[in-house]
């Protein structure tokens, strides 16, 4: 943005015009590229549109059934399944551009299965799954017959007989459960041979060209970039493959750790060539990924568990964040404010996603982000097992336990896993609380960026230079605007646009076209962009740089203090909200459990 020069003791800052920034900086090009992506994907979803015109008729059946029976009947469930099957991502060219983003698959002992499965192996899998499928089919048929009989009896009584209604609901619930089991068995019995190598090859080319478009304007050496990119991409693919080993996956050791670790190994042993350095555009990959991530911050979802859910997330989280940051600055005197905010956000907001957002917003160093992510992943692997054990031993109510896990365990996948170890209701509450917390990332990123502009780095503008800050409201606003990391505008803009789009025409349309279309593709590409970024981070750090912020163990003390405070405050607030003040919501969530 600004070109800074140190001449003697005088700090000189030559400002770059906004128009020039818009054409030449990573922040703006992250927005342009993400915008280009969204325009292309939206166009594809509209050109190869799924049969969305059928949605109202299915919804009408559901409404009619609900009005007549007051509960989910067989016809209701079938219409609902039809609605759920209408997805833009499964049609035409949209399907093609989604299919090429397929990641290496889960494997147990043979890593080749991550990329390739022969017809013989697929046939063996199908044969092994044939028996369970047959059983599932029989169960489904029997459950369907029972559900039909019960529903016919209840319908004959015009749904006025409460006992018959109760029996029907139970029979339909059993049929729905059998339907779900059948679907899983059918999926296993339909195992198909695959070879991901061609699609991975095409994806590599597409992503390389995608970033080269921005790179040309930012000023990459494109020749070096195209030579180095395949190395970074192949390391990303390997990281995904390692992270999908079944047991690593089960304890949450994901591609993120492998990507950073492999990069670190190479950078600190053989070293990296100039072309790899040129291709390892960490910030560009992350910022573009974050703008795509912004589209998934859908504000319509924050009220899912009502006031108690909001309180456990939007009250506790900022309190813990501010307290932990204060503790880091005032009590243990962290050597870097950026490291402090990255560890604090990672620990109390939502793990890796919050760490990336706050690191980008505050301009933290790569090794600071790496350290925060590494610590978080180690603690998560412990918390997944310890917290459910505590909840089970003490006999915590599942909703209370779920809210506690959702508010404290970093990363959504780990939250769901920990909840699953308690029970289904705990899992759903934990997952939903975490999602509401995930939505906070936009606010946190905005807040951190604004705080850094106003409080942490304003002195840059006040030093003797060419454009000192004007001492007026306008001058201050201009200063914030000038220094604000612009990609966050894209991040927030994407969130607003897609929140409106999702709810705008109709919720069913939003689900079919936005969630299961545009956003589904954004998710896939975003995952690859972040994978490239993590490899690039590893490739750009030396062991020495990583050891530096660890000196004195302060980040560890910060994490442990913050997480302990988070665990206690969330435990109390979740109890107060779900077990004392809003017991009705807890009862609703447990109804029929």
């Amino acid at each position: 943005m600004a070109e800074n020069q140190q001449q003697g003791n005088v700090f000189k800052e030559t400002r770059v015009s906004m128009v020039s920034q818009m054409g030449k900086t990573e922040d703006w090009w992250a927005i342009w590229l993400a915008g280009l992506f969204f325009i292309a994907v939206t166009a594809s979803c509209f050109i190869w549109k799924p049969p969305v015109e059928e949605l109202p008729q299915y919804r009408a059946i559901m409404n009619q059934e609900m009005e007549e029976a007051g509960f989910r009947t067989i016809a209701y469930t079938e219409a609902e399944s039809k609605i759920n099957s209408i997805r833009a991502r499964n049609h035409g060219f949209t399907k093609v551009i989604r299919d090429i983003t397929e990641r290496p698959k889960k494997w147990t002992t043979n890593p080749i299965q991550s990329f390739y499965m022969s017809e013989e192996d697929a046939a063996a899998k199908r044969a092994a799954a044939a028996g369970p499928l047959e059983t599932a089919e029989q169960n489904l048929e029997q459950a369907r017959t029972r559900a039909e009989q019960a529903e016919n009896a209840a319908r004959a009584a015009q749904f006025q007989d409460q006992q018959l209604n109760k029996e029907t609901r139970a029979a339909i619930a059993e049929w729905r459960s059998a339907k779900s089991a059948h679907s899983k068995a059918k999926s296993a019995a339909n195992a198909k041979a695959y070879n991901l190598i061609p699609s991975l090859f095409v994806l590599g080319i597409v992503v390389a060209i995608f970033f080269a478009i921005g790179g040309k304007f930012i000023g990459f050496n494109l020749k070096e970039y195209f030579i180095g990119f395949p190395v970074i991409y192949i390391l990303t693919v390997i990281s995904y493959m390692l992270g999908n080993q079944a047991n690593f996956k089960a304890i949450g050791i994901s591609y993120v750790l492998f990507a950073i670790f492999i990069g670190l190994l190479i950078a600190n042993t053989t070293g990296v060539s100039k072309s790899i350095k040129t291709a390892g555009q960490t910030e560009f990959f992350i910022k573009t990924g974050l703008v795509l991530l912004g589209a998934r911050i859908l504000f319509g979802q924050i009220a899912l568990i009502g006031i108690p859910g909001l309180f456990v997330t939007w009250f506790v989280t900022p309190v813990v964040l501010i307290t932990t940051f204060w503790f880091g600055q005032k009590v243990i005197k962290m050597p870097s404010k950026e490291l402090n905010i990255v560890v604090s956000s990672d620990m109390c907001v939502s793990g890796v996603s919050a760490a990336i957002a706050s690191a980008s917003a505050s301009g933290a160093k790569k090794e600071e982000l790496t350290l925060a992510i590494g610590m978080s992943m180690i603690f998560v692997a412990i918390m997944i097992f310890v917290l459910p054990t505590v909840a089970n031993i003490t006999g915590m109510h599942p909703v209370w336990a779920g809210a506690w896990l959702g508010g404290t365990v970093d990363n959504t996948g780990s939250v769901v896993a920990a909840g699953e170890l308690i029970g289904y209701e705990a899992m759903v509450v934990a997952a939903t609380i975490k999602m509401i917390q995930n939505i906070m990332i936009g606010v946190i990123a905005f807040g951190v960026a604004a705080y850094w502009c106003l409080k942490v780095e304003p002195e840059k503008a006040c030093k003797p230079g060419e454009t000192p800050m004007k001492l007026s409201v306008g001058g201050a606003l201009f200063e914030i605007w000038y220094r604000f990391p612009k990609f966050i505008l894209g991040f927030i803009g994407a969130s607003i646009i897609f929140s409106i789009m999702q709810a705008g025409i109709s919720p069913d349309w939003g689900h079919a076209m936005v969630e299961e279309g545009i956003l589904s593709l954004a998710n896939r590409y975003r995952g690859w962009f972040f994978g490239l970024a993590f490899v690039s981070i590893g490739l750009s750090i030396s062991y020495q740089e990583l050891k530096e912020p660890l000196r004195g163990g302060k980040p560890l003390i910060l994490y442990i203090f913050g997480q302990s405070f988070n665990l206690l405050l969330t435990l109390f607030v979740a109890w107060l909200m779900f077990m004392v003040i809003f017991k009705d919501i807890t009862e609703q969530l447990m109804l029929g459990a």
């Binding site: 996956k249 070293g271 899912l304 769901v416 919720p507 069913d508």
Partner: protein, 90 residues
């Protein structure tokens, strides 16, 4: 994020080429060994059975954003259903 050093510490290790490559190969062999030993995690006392549960549940435990976790969508549906928040009538 910022980092003035574009990659590594900006210069190769002072060790010989052979030693640097040997270190890299040893490190990769250690990764291979970890991968080979990974299935034994399920035999660990205390947590082994839980790891088996999580492996069989196929949850994306390492996923760090909600839309990467298939079970989240199931959870959302459950919450909407229980709280009567199903999508409004069209």
């Amino acid at each position: 994020m910022s980092n003035t050093k574009p990659a590594g510490d900006g210069k190769p290790s002072p060790d010989s080429l052979f030693r640097r490559w040997a270190r890299l190969i040893i490190a990769f062999l250690l990764i291979v060994l970890a991968v080979y030993l990974a299935p034994n995690l399920e035999k660990l006392p205390g947590v082994g059975d839980r790891i088996t549960t999580l492996r069989e549940s196929d949850i994306e435990v390492g996923a760090w954003y909600y839309d990467d976790v298939e079970k989240y969508f199931e959870a959302e549906k459950y919450i909407r259903e229980k709280r009567g928040l199903d999508y409004p009538l069209n």
